[in-house]
Amino acid sequence: MCADNINKEINIIDSTLRSGEQTAGVVFSKNEKLRIAKLLDEIGIPELEVGIPSIAEAERETIREILKLNLNARIFGYCEADPNEISYCQDCGLKNVVITVFTSEGHIKEKYDKNKNLLLSKLKDTIREIKNSNMNFIISTEDGTRADLELILQIIHIAQNKGAMRVRICDSVGAFDPFKTFLRINTILSTVNFPLEVHTKNNFGMATANGLAAIRAGAVSIMTAVNGLAEGTSNAALEEIVMALKYLENIDLGIDTKRFREISEYVAKASSRAIPIWKAIVGTNVFAHESGIHADGVLKNPKNYEAFEPSEVGLTRQLVVGKHSGSHTILHKFKEFGIDLTDSEANEILALTRAMSVDLKRPLFDKELMYIYKDYLESKKNKKEDVEESD
């Protein structure tokens, strides 16, 4: 199905360094920004949004240094549609810029004094400055999913006439589901043929799914952030989008996914936001199996419970022994320790293991399993002696 979408050129523009850094309380140091830019470039991310030049001289200095790295990735600055902002971008030596307009009724009321024409004239004035500086540009529509469709089409016509690279539709409050996303993108594209990009948010847990729905509807680019880092809830997480495109949509972007865990860890450290162990794709627990049914299934064939190999994202598989373990896990674990248990031994040790795990309210460490085993052997020996004595 939808064969026309498969193997189409899909672009990723990662905004960990801009949208990600806008997270309340998060600030990357210059060295961290340089490192993150290099890491993303090394794994093959085609475009990076690296900061807002007008924020401070320190930010501009960082952007200049990122540009000096001569990465393969195309580097973008970000600013509001305001002609005065462009000189800051120029000052950094940027060749590409994302300019933002606020497009929903509520946003227009506050930002442009309820005046849609003010929005359009600011946009045109800013584009004039950009053209004078010979920069490429993307127009980003903040709260674009809730904007009047006519206005979005007007903006796309301006983009088309002025030679913008793409128009970005932002679901800034995460107001859409995949159905609405699909309909919106599809409707726009059936009116005007222009490259669209989406920026989806995770307010209701649908950022990744909405990104994919937009691609299905014909959008060509998705904005992401590592770990989904963003203000409020998350952006579409880079690692989720890339893996979902590969495994659910058969679109392999050729990115070196083996380094996903490494990059996620680095960004987690730099942003002081630990990766939840259950985080999709890169959480340490996503390849941990405890329950009897699952662990047994994985031991027989990992494909029973895993969509891809853990090494593909830089993780490892673990078998956790606890309340929900089954006898196969016990047999396997002890085999790893070099001990071959009989089935009945495994069952008896399983009962002891489950009881211990319930009592401790957690799974058991390998050492604890060995303690249980030693206690078990001793009690067996004692029983035997008891029997002999009674004879």
């Binding site: 199905m1 939808c2 806008q22 997270t23 309340a24 309380g25 600030v27 140091s29 924020i55 401070a56 930010e59 929903s104 509520g106 506050e110 930002k111 903040e142 409050v173 995460g174 107001a175 859409f176 589901d177 995949p178 159905f179 699909f182 309909l183 995770n202 847990g205 649908m206 950022a207 990744t208 799914a209 994919l212 203000e231 409020g232 809830t233 989720e240 979902a244 495994y247 659910l248 949509e249 936001r273 162990i277 259950w278 999709a280 794709i281 959480g283 627990n285 996503v286 329950s291 699952h294 299934g297 064939n301 029973n304 969509a307 673990q318 309340k323 489950r354 309210k361 957690r362 799974p363």
Partner: protein
């Protein structure tokens, strides 16, 4: 597939109205949530979670696996006897003795669960499709003799050949099952595929369907919604999305997505969501990320200029619901991305009154401080900065 034009269907479903009374939530925090590698609830915790869910208005609780015996069985027995408003369901393999354990517990509903995919049947169960169908029939037949509500769970339904999945569903329906649980055991569905498969089962077999979606690729909520759009009536959730690997569809996210994106208000007491999430976070020893949708502590804390300005002008500019709706609070912090409006807003709340020039100077000071400290500023640091500025 079967003449469904996915593009037309998908577009048509975008704004479709669904009757809130037709949608039911079956929460499995106590079963699939606890099955998470490393998580064990104490019985007292299970009982408390069940009470909290019932209090919020949940329709059904999947309380555990009676066949495990011991503490597990005791907890289920207790939960089934507390006189909660919701239905209590227990999980079983298609084994008569398992169902007998459930009957001992006094639950009103049972899930009878077995893999339907060939890979699971051949490589995990080492049985045949016929064996699966026969065991389901016998188990459903037995459960129905005791007047239990019966859900038949198709484990790994997503990788099941569609023809066999239809046969599996028909077999369950004809044996007397009340619903089919569609388990995306590996979390490998996207909303398009989910929609098509659920619609196909609904159209051809007509049995009630429950969605059980995992979050391995971040799609659990979207896929659950796609299922509802395709005609599923039940959704299996867990608080905080607790569950094996990347977890399940999060209860609080799904309920709020239904309410605010799909206009399906289940009438739950959402004000208690943060409290419930905190309790489950502590009991499962997995803290709530501050950015977690719906209940994360930071989702209503703003720093960037535009967000503060637009949010304070009208909350709907940046959030579809208010923090109080889920038991959270809002806040503004000052950092690298603050601007004149947000700084003034914050400093006014701290009792200061600066003119525009002063604010411009202060803004530069606080932005540079945030950059050098690599974080936002504490209120006490802001106060200190303002006082020093006023002295100079």
């Amino acid at each position: 597939m079967r003449g469904i034009n996915i593009f037309t269907e998908f577009s048509q479903k975008a704004g479709e109205k669904i009757d809130p009374k037709s949608i039911k939530i079956d929460d499995t925090t106590l079963r699939d949530g606890e099955q998470t590698a490393g998580v064990v609830f104490a019985n007292e915790e299970k009982i408390h979670i069940a009470k909290m869910l019932d209090d919020i208005g949940i329709h059904q609780i999947e309380a555990g696996i009676p066949a495990m015996g011991g503490d597990e069985k005791e907890a289920i027995k207790k939960i089934a006897s507390m006189g909660l408003n919701c239905s209590i369901l227990a999980w079983n393999r298609p084994v008569i003795s398992d169902i007998q354990h459930s009957i001992d517990c006094g639950v009103d509903s049972v899930a009878i669960s077995i893999s339907s995919s060939d890979i699971h049947i051949e490589q995990k169960l080492r049985k045949t499709r016929e064996w699966v169908l026969e065991n389901v029939r016998n188990a459903v037949d037995f459960a129905k003799k005791y007047n239990l509500y019966v859900s038949v769970n198709a484990e790994d339904a997503s990788r099941t050949d569609m023809e066999f999945l239809l046969q599996f569903a028909r077999n369950a329906r004809d044996a007397g099952a009340d619903r089919l649980r569609y388990c995306d055991t590996l979390g490998i569905m996207d909303p398009f595929e989910t929609f098509m498969r659920i619609k196909t089962i609904r159209d051809i077999i007509g049995i009630d369907i429950e969605m059980h979606m995992h979050n391995d690729f971040g799609m659990a909520i979207a896929n659950s919604i796609a299922g509802i759009k395709a005609g599923a009536k039940y959704v299996n959730t867990t608080v905080n999305g607790l569950g094996e690997r990347a977890g399940n569809a999060a209860f609080e996210e799904f309920v709020m997505a239904l309410k605010y994106i799909e206009a399906i208000d289940l009438g739950f007491n959402t004000k208690k969501f943060r409290g419930l999430s905190e309790y489950v976070a502590i009991a499962s020893d997995r803290s709530i990320p501050t950015w977690k949708p719906i209940v994360g502590a930071n989702i209503f804390v703003f720093e960037t200029e535009n967000r503060v300005r637009l949010y304070t002008a009208d909350h709907r500019n940046y959030e579809l619901f208010d923090p109080e709706d889920v038991g959270l609070e809002t806040g503004v912090i000052i950092g690298k991305y603050s601007g004149l409006f947000s700084l003034n807003y914050k400093l006014t709340s701290l009792g200061y009154n600066f003119n525009e020039n002063q604010l411009k100077e202060l803004l530069e000071i606080v932005r540079n401080k945030a950059i050098s400290l690599k974080r936002a500023l504490f209120d006490s640091e802001l106060i200190d900065t303002c006082n020093s500025y006023l002295k100079d």
